[in-house]
Assembly symmetry: C2
Homo-oligomer: 340 residues x 2
Amino acid sequence: MISALDWIGDAPTGFLRLLDQTRLPEEHVHLDCHDVPTLWQAIKRLSVRGAPAIGIAAAYGCVLAARAGGPGLGPGADHLATSRPTAVNLFWALDRMRRVPSPTPQALLQEARAIHEEDRAMCRAIGEHAFAALQQISAWNPSGDRRILTHCNAGALATGGIGTATAPIYVAHERGLRPRVFADETRPLLQGGRLTAYELARAGVEVTLICDSMAAQVMREGRVAAVITGADRIAANGDAANKIGTYGLAVLAQHHRVPFLVAAPSTTFDLTCPDALSIPIEQRDAAEVTHPLGRCAAPRGVSVYNPAFDVTPAALITALVTERGVIQPVSREAVAQHLA
Amino acid sequence: MISALDWIGDAPTGFLRLLDQTRLPEEHVHLDCHDVPTLWQAIKRLSVRGAPAIGIAAAYGCVLAARAGGPGLGPGADHLATSRPTAVNLFWALDRMRRVPSPTPQALLQEARAIHEEDRAMCRAIGEHAFAALQQISAWNPSGDRRILTHCNAGALATGGIGTATAPIYVAHERGLRPRVFADETRPLLQGGRLTAYELARAGVEVTLICDSMAAQVMREGRVAAVITGADRIAANGDAANKIGTYGLAVLAQHHRVPFLVAAPSTTFDLTCPDALSIPIEQRDAAEVTHPLGRCAAPRGVSVYNPAFDVTPAALITALVTERGVIQPVSREAVAQHLA
């Protein structure tokens, strides 16, 4: 099993070892962070990405910050908060680290390890619940020919454990079953090929890469048992914001009567959002579309529409899975009860 | 208006000028073919592509072949047939050229020009019929905010005229209306960005490039008046094979109540195919998926599924448009009547 990040050694002299995700899939190279500036750059450059993994990295970063001296956790912790200004988990982890009563490197490392371990356990619990739900809801046979289809990377590389959307796949694999997966490549940034196919193949899971536009065809051929994705934010009524392309997949799944599951930590729910309409959709740089992997694929100056996310309405989601269990059918009431 | 190919000069000394589509979108460079080997390479290398354009290029190539001497059109014409062994229009054009009674370069040029002109007229007729149909079926306002969405390239670059799917857009543009277009980038080969966005932008049409996975979102936002694509083959019942991703678009269009049109010459119908099941789907090289524009985006040796086409069932097609007119609703009987 691949690991996105690990603390190596003790608190006074140890360091944070990241798998440098900017080098994937061509090179499997670690980036060792012995100080805050190195880690700040690593987060900024997306060497470590995925909301849970960023939070854990920042928590370990506080050990590095405290070692560098200064009041409290030192100025390093504040600096880390500026590395990915929209990453909610980053702020959450730093806030929690700031609340460590006696912030010695030793105490901070203990807290960071606790955050990491909680994330690992959360992924594991999602995996167990989703593994059961997939078989119940979709009649998925984890050793059968029909595959799980996933989009983007909600995998081990995004978390401190076995991922969220990938978690039931790893659970099946660990039990000696032979789960088979379709990974959408996920334009524009191609996380499906670079990250999801990479981590699954490395773990020995049978994965087949497809372009996003091929998902409809493999569903039509009856080769998809269920679709499972992660989520970036889930509204109080169950509408789920996730990587662009998720919504279209959900429409296609409904058309082909393929169950559509969303797996995410319960902290992904934002009850201040009543529904999809209150989730703003970030527009990203045109170059992501016009220059895949840096190569020119469009005329100079062409207009581009590049929404980072879309929102899948609750009505298209067969079940939401968190570390607490399964929400099915998805409704405002069921969400409230689940989180109570 | 861009031109994929033109004969320059007279029969004894002239040459075929191709827009080298392998250099697009970065460079607008012509490739002048004075002999058969140069043209053979150009077809092979996809400097000219699109079924109608290949047929026209091969027809002009017969002038070059005859000039080189040998019996009939010379061995050059037979050689041209090997450049794209699955291109039906290529064989069709060569057969027609072989039937020229007295195959002098002059007579052959006249026949090639006739083939070119017929294709140009066919595109024009499709454009007029589709322009009317789009307004009637979809309430498309050619000067309005809601856009036409197209997939892959069934444009001027694929034909001897204004394309097929793009034809109504060019018709609207020529009339001083301001049609607006979404071009799907069309993975894996990115013809939407490299070719369709290029030719529309060059003609002054307002085009916005999106990734294939964004089509659902722009439909959901109510920004799409209609979808129009080309077709590679249409079965007797109206099922249409086209570039991978077309079928998924048709499902999404139905879900969002967006009319879905297919525009193609009447020669695209293959009445020996009763329906979609009898249309074989070619699998293409994994590298197209794993290495977009040559850059590595997937782990070494990963499994890939890369169907070149998919088939859109007639039930999802609002109307078929040919140079003869509009088939709506689409049924086996309506197709038979249209072609009678």
